[in-house]
Subunit: 292 residues, 2 copies
């Protein structure tokens, strides 16, 4: 059994990007510049955006934090986005979610220029991904594909079962795994809350991607020997013995399922750490596309 | 066993649209206006575009045929598309494929304003469809969903198997059938050329959509009793006894499979006739969206 170690892969990717950025600097080229828009002072959002900005700094990207008050109107935010779309120095930018309730998030995400949409949330980027065109792929599915590739997990002709049909994980994973090429060429079954006989389906799977958000949902009797497990669940389960009062728990009963798996992601330390690395990779791509 | 009769459904839809158009006229509103761009003189393309224009006329739409010589350059075509994008009288338009080889089709399809893309080929429309947003859905998958809905075929919790992962049929069908709502909420398995044990998978299916293009591929021993069959295959099989020298043949061995099916589309007369009706429906929607 091999652990799909997201912390190590994430660090490797950051190191590789740093080498690329150092090369750009040595050649006198403009380095990638990521902007992050944060509206309001939500604690978790501040932490996430802070990590993204710090990650940029460590690998030599330029970064800009646009911090707006939580009273910002939709119109003001759309003006700011228009400004970022037209700012030639910015290669890519993200709008941290959730947004305050006076703002329509969908309208905002639609306003981001797809060429600068390094979160990969714009429908044009989603459509290009689904149609096999060059595009920005959202960090979580992109990170999972990268984890499979870096561990040379076989995918062609394998039966992949994806649990959960969310727009940010399940749906794109079902598409990416069934696209032509590697990692891909899987027969893919997309399952969700309306699926009957879930265990019968997961027992047929060579690869399972679980993005359900139900702690310890996937038990050992639901998988076959040699299965590859990608656990995208991150649920806070109350635990008084822990300093934070909770533990982050995945969808997979790791202790039992790992005995049958050939590869498995731990939670935490699997898919989670990949996301910032993939955002940085998208920003590097954004810079390269703009040079074309 | 019920035949999913595409000719009847298509005529019903056209009748319904005609009623809507008559109402628009009675209210003094602008009626929908579809333009079709045809480059060159390919016989099949002339026939297809001709049918679309005639269908518009019969239901009371305005229509414009833009017929350009086969020596048209990519730049000239892109200028024409820009003109149609900005022509306030045109609600939607299509560019008939294939295009002459000096023209990059993908570049052309990307140039169509997504709001006028009634073929639903632009990645932004594909992405919106996948993300569950309001959008234009390509005629073939849209027509299949309409056939299922008009016959009140149950889909929630059913296992649908889609054969073929093309961008115009298999991929969008796999997405539409797994979206929330009706028709949808299926557990969906997308299969393709790399799939192993195809027959084992199809035998589990409550609904099969076959878009492979291999005549009589799906045999009776590959399906279970009560299955719903959607046959999207249209292959010309040589047949000297026929005036045209060929017969249009589906992916499904209709004679044998129909004995086990609860619902089945014939070929011809199933999915095929739905496409023009759905193009007209998209054009009506385009008119309505522009009124918002």
């Amino acid at each position: 059994m091999t652990i799909l170690d997201g912390r190590k892969a994430s660090n490797d990717i950051k190191d590789e990007i740093k080498v690329a950025v150092d090369g750009m600097k040595a050649n006198g080229e403009k380095v990638p510049h990521l902007a992050a828009v944060l509206v309001g002072d939500d604690g978790a959002s501040l932490t996430y955006v802070g990590s993204k900005v710090r990650a940029c700094e460590r690998i030599g990207f330029e970064s800009t934090l646009v911090h707006l008050p939580d009273t910002t109107s939709e119109e003001e935010l759309l003006l700011k986005i228009d400004e970022l779309n037209n700012d030639n120095d910015i290669d890519g930018f993200i709008v941290q979610l959730p947004l305050p309730k006076q703002i329509d998030s969908q309208k905002v995400l639609m306003a981001v220029d797809p060429k600068k949409d390094v979160d990969g949330f714009h429908p044009e980027n989603f459509g290009k991904m689904a149609l096999g065109m060059e595009s920005f792929i959202a960090a979580t599915p992109f990170g999972i594909m990268e984890l499979l590739e870096r561990h040379k997990v076989e995918t062609s002709g394998k039966h992949a079962v994806v649990i959960g049909r969310s727009n940010i994980v399940g749906r794109p994973m079902s598409i990416l795994l069934s696209r032509k090429g590697y990692p891909g060429d899987c027969t893919v079954t997309l399952t969700h809350s309306r699926t009957r006989n879930m265990a019968e389906i997961t027992r047929e799977a060579d690869i399972i991607v679980s993005a359900l958000g139900v702690p310890n949902f996937l038990k050992a009797d639901m998988v076959k020997d040699g299965v590859v497990i990608i656990d995208v669940g991150i649920t806070r389960v109350p635990d008084e013995s822990h300093p934070k009062g909770y533990v982050i728990t995945g969808d997979v009963d790791f202790e039992q399922v790992s005995k049958k798996a050939s590869y498995i992601t731990p939670v935490p330390g699997g898919v989670g750490p990949m996301t910032i690395a993939m955002l940085l990779k998208n920003t590097l791509l954004a810079r390269k596309y703009r040079n074309h």
